[in-house]
Symmetry: C2
Amino acid sequence: MAKIQGKKNSTKKEVIIEKASKLFREKGFGAASMRDLAENVGVEAASLYNHIQSKSEILQTICFKVANEFMTNLEQVESSSESTLKKMEAIIRLHIRMMLDQYEFIYISDHEWRHLPEPYLSNFLSQRRSYRKRLGDIIEEGIAKGEMKHIDPYVAVLIILSAVSGIDSWQRSRKSTSAEALETNMVKYLIEGLKK
Amino acid sequence: MAKIQGKKNSTKKEVIIEKASKLFREKGFGAASMRDLAENVGVEAASLYNHIQSKSEILQTICFKVANEFMTNLEQVESSSESTLKKMEAIIRLHIRMMLDQYEFIYISDHEWRHLPEPYLSNFLSQRRSYRKRLGDIIEEGIAKGEMKHIDPYVAVLIILSAVSGIDSWQRSRKSTSAEALETNMVKYLIEGLKK
DNA sequence: GAAAAATACTAACAAGTGTTAGCCGTCGAT
DNA sequence: ATCGACGGCTAACACTTGTTAGTATTTTTC
């Protein structure tokens, strides 16, 4: 029953989702067609439906895979016994690294979630809201403990998340700056801005 | 020859572009249809073509209007005789304010430029590259003059532009934080991260 | 090797896409 | 009063969309 198609030991469904993520990023979810996708997979459009149920199921899979991964990692950080600054640094580094090596998935989760059908859309947004809230709580704690400067936690979260998400416009022109330098400099900037 | 339709003294073409910007933001350029737009304007789809030439002409108009506005303001700042820190602060404040009161236009210019047809796409991207380069030059000068901490200028620009662009996800949930507080806190964070 | 399950294909659907042609009414200018 | 431009309308075009039915072909299981 299992199939070992594609390049490595991955389901055809996984291959489809991988190709789709590349396509969705390039053209946007709305402008990417199933016939486009089929051609990239090397198959006729109708054949895709033996592995997936609909176009938007692909989007759902990608968005929630990313959301869950971030959520899981946040819980791990939260339950650690580091300082609040170290916690934020860990989260920032994680975001940067995921952006670097799961670029396509994260880009789509960041930019194409608008096209999720209900009730997934509401679900996704509520998960996102919760994530940001919990990041804000860490910063609030950091301020209370005197480890961070007095700043609106929500604005700080906004800046941090937007900044790492902006790496997408670096991805193409990765000429001058290396990945390590990018991470180092970003952490420097973003953490210095928090420190008291 | 001029017509005084819409609400204020604005051309019908301007009304169309305004409605379109709202629609493109909500559904994305690809998913927004001309019939959708027509309905919002209060007219049949075909009638739109008495005022515009194509769907993508609308996108071009919006994208280049925004790009030119930013470019003009950058030139003004560049030619001033303020310190490099003041220059960056002025630019950041300008970005935030434009994001607040020209939200729809800027959002589209930020997120939907991918759908520009050539040669406008290349043109747009080159203008964007130039803008970032010149911002980076200001920061480089700030470092050389000892006003800013040693940081990769390109990364700093990336962070700043992404952060202000991220205000879009604030726009909807503008409950807790006021516009002034948002600006104050953002400037605080972003400038503190630069200062030596 | 036969039976069964999985997955490919072709053809087609109903709906929606941007856009054009051609027509008709409403104005302001001559 | 007439002309001509303007801007609205209806119909239609040529295509693309996501998706389904039905059938053939390949692959797995026994």
